[in-house]
């Protein structure tokens, strides 16, 4: 079962520069584990140590944000297209406060 995964510029160091890679898995979590077996370190950029999707990484299955599909439990089918985009975020907000929001968002899932 092949799923096409679109890799953003900032993570292409893990894929030998490839913009699109193929992977397999019944869920997004399985897919990331499969990708990590060939592109070591990629999963660690997307998933926290607590095992949740990072707050400031956007992952889409086809046209849907996976946050609305069960995050790492999102079901995948043959032929699906997964897109990874680092969130574009920032601002004058203090770092500690932003980190607290990020942690809160992770904990809330």
């Amino acid at each position: 079962m092949a799923i096409e995964v679109r890799i953003p510029t900032i993570l292409r160091s893990y894929t030998g520069g490839a913009k699109v890679v193929d992977g397999t898995g019944d869920t997004l979590g399985d897919l990331l584990a499969d990708l990590d077996s060939r592109h070591a370190g990629l999963r660690g950029r997307l998933v926290t140590e607590a095992g949740a999707l990072h707050r400031f990484v956007n992952v889409y299955v086809n046209d849907e944000d996976v946050r609305f599909l069960g995050a790492l439990d999102a079901k995948l089918s043959d032929g699906d297209s997964v897109t990874i985009l680092p969130a574009v975020a920032g601002g004058a907000f203090g770092f500690a406060a932003a980190a607290a929001i990020s942690q809160h968002a992770v904990a809330a899932r």
Partner: protein
């Protein structure tokens, strides 16, 4: 150095002023590899905050796909600081995810003047660069964005409803 058309800068400043005191954010796309920003895309600040900005995830996907289809890339990623200087905060640095982009900051803390500065942010390292503002009419794309930027009455900036 960032070279950018005067009309695009004017449109970015207008966007930042319109959303003040909330932070405004957006992208200027350009042909892949050209390092030339030609198409101004104001984005919705999903955080709707005076001290934080975040692209809406669905708008982000749509705009990035559109750039892909047009062989464009995000040449400039901009946002405003509304009470502090136009310098990347630690938050900006920690979230900067497009190493090829010019990060343009506009400060609207002064009511009648703007501070506009540009930075590269790669692996957590901030490098300021000069901004060269090019007068309009130099290339046809710039003229297009001039029209776009100067016709706000007919453009849905997606934040006009607030």
């Amino acid at each position: 150095m960032l070279s950018i058309d005067r009309s695009i800068i004017d449109a970015i400043v207008a966007h930042a002023r319109r959303d003040h005191p909330d932070e405004a954010c957006g992208v200027v796309a350009g042909p892949v590899g050209s390092d030339t920003p030609t198409r101004h895309i104001p984005m919705d600040n999903a955080a709707r905050s005076m001290t934080f900005y975040e692209f809406d995830s669905m708008e982000h996907l749509r705009v990035w796909r559109e750039m892909d289809d047009r062989d464009e890339e995000p040449v400039v990623i901009y946002h405003s600081h509304t009470a502090t200087e136009a310098y990347p905060s630690r938050t900006d640095v920690s979230f900067a995810g497009e190493p090829g982009a010019h990060y343009l900051l506009v400060s609207t803390r002064e009511p009648d003047s703007e501070e506009i500065r540009s930075f590269r942010i790669v692996d957590g390292v901030v490098t300021e660069e000069p901004v060269r503002i090019v007068e309009a009419g130099v290339d046809p794309h710039a003229v297009q964005s001039y029209m776009f930027g100067q016709s706000p009455a007919t453009v849905d900036y997606e934040c006009s409803g607030r």
